[in-house]
């Protein structure tokens, strides 16, 4: 394994092993195995910039590096893709203060 990316949607993160020369389509095929969603119903978006990643381009070409966060959106019943939705744990520090026994 040369690298991995973190694909996130809602409360789930998929760690996907990959290679810099691998095409985005290849990543979607791997995701298909995990989530049973056809490649055409997946959209991958570079989380830092909001850029939609293109199937035919490689990870390196689109500056997707090791440990990069990529957002996954799925096609809704209509034809549109859903909005990016990644749940974050914003109250982490706060909750830790009030509940010191929890790690």
């Amino acid at each position: 394994m040369s690298m991995y990316i973190r694909v996130k949607r809602n409360k789930t993160t998929y760690f996907i092993q990959c290679d810099p020369t691998e095409k985005i389509l290849g990543i979607k095929q791997k995701l298909n195995v995990l989530i049973d969603q056809p490649v055409n119903d997946q959209q991958l978006i570079l989380f830092a910039t909001g850029e939609v990643l293109e199937d035919s381009k490689s990870l390196a070409e689109q500056k997707v590096e090791n440990d990069t966060i990529v957002a996954l959106t799925l096609r809704k019943d209509g034809n549109e893709f859903e909005e990016v939705n990644i749940e974050q744990l914003n109250d982490f520090y706060q909750s830790r203060d009030t509940d010191a026994g929890n790690w």
Partner: protein, 98 residues
């Protein structure tokens, strides 16, 4: 890539991390859960819940698993740890035998 080769780790807040079994096995504790014959239900469902590990720490741990695999393959990078996470991370690592 096969679904059977992945495991799902669930944090205290219910966030899920789907990682390669190979990566999860970096932890001796998880390795035992996944490989011991007929003991843990985790073996069958490939799902482990950690009610005492927060999401932030669990994600860091998953990143560490992959870093560890890369390092074993000769890549020499440092593993970054934010100072404020150190204590919790050590406690979790101790529990996970990592």
């Amino acid at each position: 890539m096969r679904k059977e080769d992945t495991v799902k780790l669930i944090s205290a807040e219910g966030f899920e991390f789907v990682i390669d079994k190979e990566a999860a096995m970096v932890s001796q504790t998880i390795r035992n859960m996944l490989t011991s014959p007929g003991g843990f239900s985790e073996t069958e469902h490939r799902e482990v819940t950690f009610p005492e590990i927060s999401t932030t720490i669990l994600e860091k741990i998953c990143q560490y698993f992959y870093w560890s695999l890369q390092y074993a393959n000769g890549k020499e990078t440092e593993f970054p740890i934010e100072p404020e996470l150190t204590l919790e991370l050590m406690m979790a690592a101790n529990y996970l035998h990592t």
